[in-house]
Subunit: 304 residues, 2 copies
């Protein structure tokens, strides 16, 4: 595995691999099994795997955890190499933003002003801007994102369509601890007691799924109240939001059973903000369909 | 020359030409010598030339001339072919915008709220969005823009840097009629009398250049007053703006002779809005340097 830190080094490292399918896994580092599962999926579908590690200042708010975001490049390097990453791109902030960017990407409030975006002003402008830059620098054919950041996945897919990026966004299932807690680099912040109580998030969502499968729930309020009651049994949990939206267009659903829906939540344990979600029905990559052709254009997708 | 109307047709047409240098000339059609001079420059520097003709609704305001913007595809086709264009891309609005785009590009007010952008709200958001899409669809190595739309050229160059597009923006000199009038598709709107009077724009700018060369001017007010007085000798001229800014960063200059400056104006003749400008000193492509390597990355450029 090659570690590169500049666009020039990246170009050199990729020059002889452009004939094959390039898979890209963007991360903020502090890798866990969730990231590595993206790499494994990419390995199955691509000829050459690039991972980026970049803690993007543009997507952190003023009161967020940019400075204390966990980092361990040496460990990440080792994990990425073992998972089969061929080029690890770790640019400096100066390489990515030599000066304040004056032309950026902007996400419509209709999809940014719900879920996490409602509480993290301009977060998704920062996410899409850094992804646009990374997509231009790496020029991948397939890009891998986890469903845990469901809004991010929906918005990146929207950007790929709207800006005509010629690449395929691949949606990957959330990886969980044995007790159900969704993997996150931020889990390291949790105290032992917080960690124990945090299991309530996936338990509540699992109950919701079972209820949906049996058509027990009649409307979003029922689900919302159930999840709220269940989570508040944990004294350290402080709910930021519980939202039920259609997916991937992130609108209020008129029915629970017409279209794919997202049940998503963000809950603080102490200072640590955890998110989790489920999609119902579960269909793996259904909303970004798998294609027989590896290179599919966005307009192809619209027509298919 | 091949005429293509969809991304898929475009991909087919370009498939066998990716090994060479692809030059791209984006236009809104109704071609004139200005556009053709871009093609001729591209021919010298590239192996394969793509031109787009797309009147982009996103960059027109509600009270602007979208519906009456002049069009003549048959004539354009002929002119493009004779000039040496190999693929003419003429997508429909539906091909470019199958639905309202929710993720777009956004230009900072520091460079969009001056010159034309001040009078055309969100115009440059529309220009950068359509260019980002075209760049993704065509994947050119070199893209050709005229200096007549100086703010557009500055903003596109800024986008290429800020979003890390891996392509070179080539700046091309304004082409003029024999009497000095800058070529524009909108010149066709002018009555005979308006056309006669419109020559005052280039004459005023030419006087300014001569004054700058002899260091006659001491500050921007002197130039501004001179140009205003000269243009108002024409009874049909209605000045929208005369602005003097540093180029390409579009800031108020502290001196006329420290950095490259732009003297730009927009003047109505009847309903027809004409723009013109000069750069001083004139240095052809100096602010977007010519490169020996054809493929140069934006980060390379920052370091050079």
């Amino acid at each position: 595995m090659e570690l590169v830190e500049t666009v020039q080094e990246l170009n050199n490292a990729l020059r002889n691999h452009r004939h094959g399918v390039i898979g890209f896994v963007p991360t903020m580092g502090y890798l866990h099994e969730g990231h590595l599962s993206l790499v494994r999926k990419a390995k199955k579908e691509c000829d050459f795997i690039v991972m980026s590690i970049f803690v993007n200042p543009l997507q952190f708010g003023q009161n967020e955890d940019l400075s204390r975001y966990p980092r361990d490049l040496e460990r990440d390097f080792d994990l990425a190499r073992k998972a089969g990453v061929q080029v690890l791109y770790h640019p400096s902030v100066k390489e990515m933003y030599p000066s304040e960017p004056l032309v950026t990407t902007k996400v419509s409030e209709s999809i940014s002003n719900v879920l996490c975006g409602k509480y993290r002003e301009s977060h998704f402008d920062g996410v899409t801007t850094v992804c646009a830059k990374l997509f231009h620098q790496i020029k991948p054919d397939r890009v891998y994102f986890g469903q845990k950041d469901a809004q991010q996945l929906a918005i990146i897919s929207q950007m790929v369509e709207d800006l005509s990026f010629q690449l395929t966004v691949v949606s990957c299932e959330t990886v969980r601890e044995e007790d159900g807690l969704a993997l996150s680099s931020r889990n390291v912040y949790l105290s032992e007691e917080e960690r124990k109580q945090a299991v309530i998030l996936s338990q509540a969502l699992q109950d919701v799924r079972i209820g949906l499968e049996s058509r027990k729930w009649h409307n979003t309020d029922e689900i919302n109240n159930y999840v709220r009651d269940k989570i508040t049994t944990m004294p350290l949990a402080e709910i930021q939001y519980i939202e039920i939206l259609t997916y991937p267009d992130l609108k209020a659903p008129t029915s629970l059973y017409n279209k794919q829906i997202l049940i998503a939540l963000a809950v603080f344990f102490g200072k640590t903000r955890l998110i989790d979600n489920i999609l119902f029905p579960t269909e793996g990559d259904s909303h970004v369909p798998y294609d027989d052709e590896i290179k599919i254009t966005s307009s192809n997708r619209n027509r298919s």
